[in-house]
Subunit: 291 residues, 2 copies
């Protein structure tokens, strides 16, 4: 039986660790706030009171944490206390350069490190249908297959260490931009007195169609911004996108503009809303806040 | 038998008029350059040497012309020479305010005018699977149904006169923006040494998925910018979008930015390429023109 040390049992990590238990992995979970560790134990996992305890006997270490500094801190502890040779899979969304640095540091100390950020949200985590973008060595990707297959549906090896984070950053650029384009289109047609539901139907059927329109269009027309994926998290991710683009010398005019708009939404106190609340900002910018 | 006077037998109008002939309409076609009228006659239509001749005995007048001034000129002739009561359907993509003005002018003179811009491109016209966004009175929309059904698959009445053009403008905003976001994402992942085909696969499977990615992603990776829909036409359409947004007081930050990028592409001599050539511009802006 493969033993997995799972660090970070939050909105995404909690259901992912539970799905590994359901797939017959021996999972030792740890979370900084003990209540989440207890909840995981109640769902059939084993609990650990420290990162060290969670990883010392593990065959695989998995992490799902908020941001680059959290991952750096936890992986430093992992490299000190897990057994060399252990497969280390970071599911967090962090900076590609940090992911590559940590993988190199881990490799020096005998660990096999993969960056494997996910897309699909809380529901995707619960239903084990995540998209997983994996960077690292091909043989490590194959070794991690059983873990990925218990968590996701679309699992793709996209390149060397850091590449998973790069593709996730591209994903977040496209998603934010597509939400903003849809928001602009909706406010535009509403201002012209058009039947907006009919408009979305015909837009969705042609080249303007997108998964964002399909999944978020109706809620946007109804001004229902219940998360879903929160503005404050997308703002963090767009910080990663713009930094990584800058570092690579890539110019992203729309990506940079939408990063500013998401930052404004957060600065105005809407960080807790769903990212489709970009519609609220476009309406406000257009002097139509009540609509 | 319903007689249709069809003005404008170009890339889109030619196959549309031919599809009306195939659906047993009596079609009298006219084009400014006689060669296109002759080609239409060879395909079973009747030819007319002037707008006046094409429309004087028609039950329905259809127009498919390049831009607002062309439509204004032709409809002025139509209102002078067609029989009052005639249904006038403009399939061109023009300014919503011009469409509304022309419809009002036609109504004063006893005509029933619809704006009915289409989406789906040359292939959609040939295959009679266009999306058609229709503005005008509900009873005129119903009267025009047999014509629409011979040309398109998704036919939606979206509001009063001008509303069809408004939705088409929103369509062109979203399509240009989505192409640009995809272009930025591709150059971004290429610059990071990622397996781009694998990246597009995983992006397409999640919230970043779109019809643009599905239909254009492969050709963009291969730098194949054969039109398709030309940059110069999308540039014209984005002029319509930005003018109509300005007129309605709607602020469209990404729409305005992508309009500038498409304008730059055209200014640099790439107006004849497919609009997915935005990738070429992003690569150039990022100092990677050879890639």
């Amino acid at each position: 039986m493969t033993t997995v040390g799972f660090i970070g049992l939050g909105i995404m990590g909690g259901p992912m660790a539970a799905n590994l238990v359901a797939a017959d992995f021996d999972v030792v979970g740890h979370n900084r706030s003990p209540a989440k560790t207890e909840r995981f134990v109640a769902r059939g996992g084993r609990g650990a009171s420290s990162v060290e305890e969670a990883v010392k006997d593990a065959d695989v270490v998995a992490t799902m944490l908020p941001d680059s500094p959290d991952v750096r801190a936890v992986l430093t502890t992992v490299f000190d206390h897990a057994r060399p040779g252990t497969l280390v899979i970071d599911f967090s969304t962090i900076r590609p350069d940090v992911a590559a640095d940590l993988a190199a540091e881990g490799a020096e100390r005998g660990f096999r490190v993969l960056d494997a950020p996910v897309s699909g949200g809380e529901q995707g985590a619960v239903d084990a249908v995540l998209s997983i973008m994996v960077g690292g060595a091909a043989e490590d990707f194959e070794a991690a297959r059983p873990v990925f297959d218990a968590l996701g549906r679309t699992v793709v090896h996209v390149g060397p260490t850091g590449a998973g984070q790069t593709v996730k950053a591209a994903n977040q650029l496209i998603v934010a931009g597509t939400l903003e384009l849809l928001a602009e289109a909706i406010v535009f047609v509403e201002a012209h007195g058009v039947d907006t539901a009919a408009a979305l139907k015909v837009l969705g059927g042609g080249l303007a169609g997108s998964t964002v329109l399909e999944r978020k269009g109706g809620a946007m027309l109804a001004r229902d911004f219940t998360p879903g994926f929160r503005v404050e998290l997308h703002d963090k991710d767009l910080g990663i996108v713009t930094a990584a683009a800058r570092e690579a010398g890539v110019v992203i005019p729309l990506g940079a503009a939408v990063a500013q708009l998401v930052a404004s939404l957060r600065a105005q106190g809407d960080g807790g809303l769903d990212h489709s609340a970009l519609l609220k900002l476009v309406a406000q910018l257009s002097g139509r806040p009540g609509k």
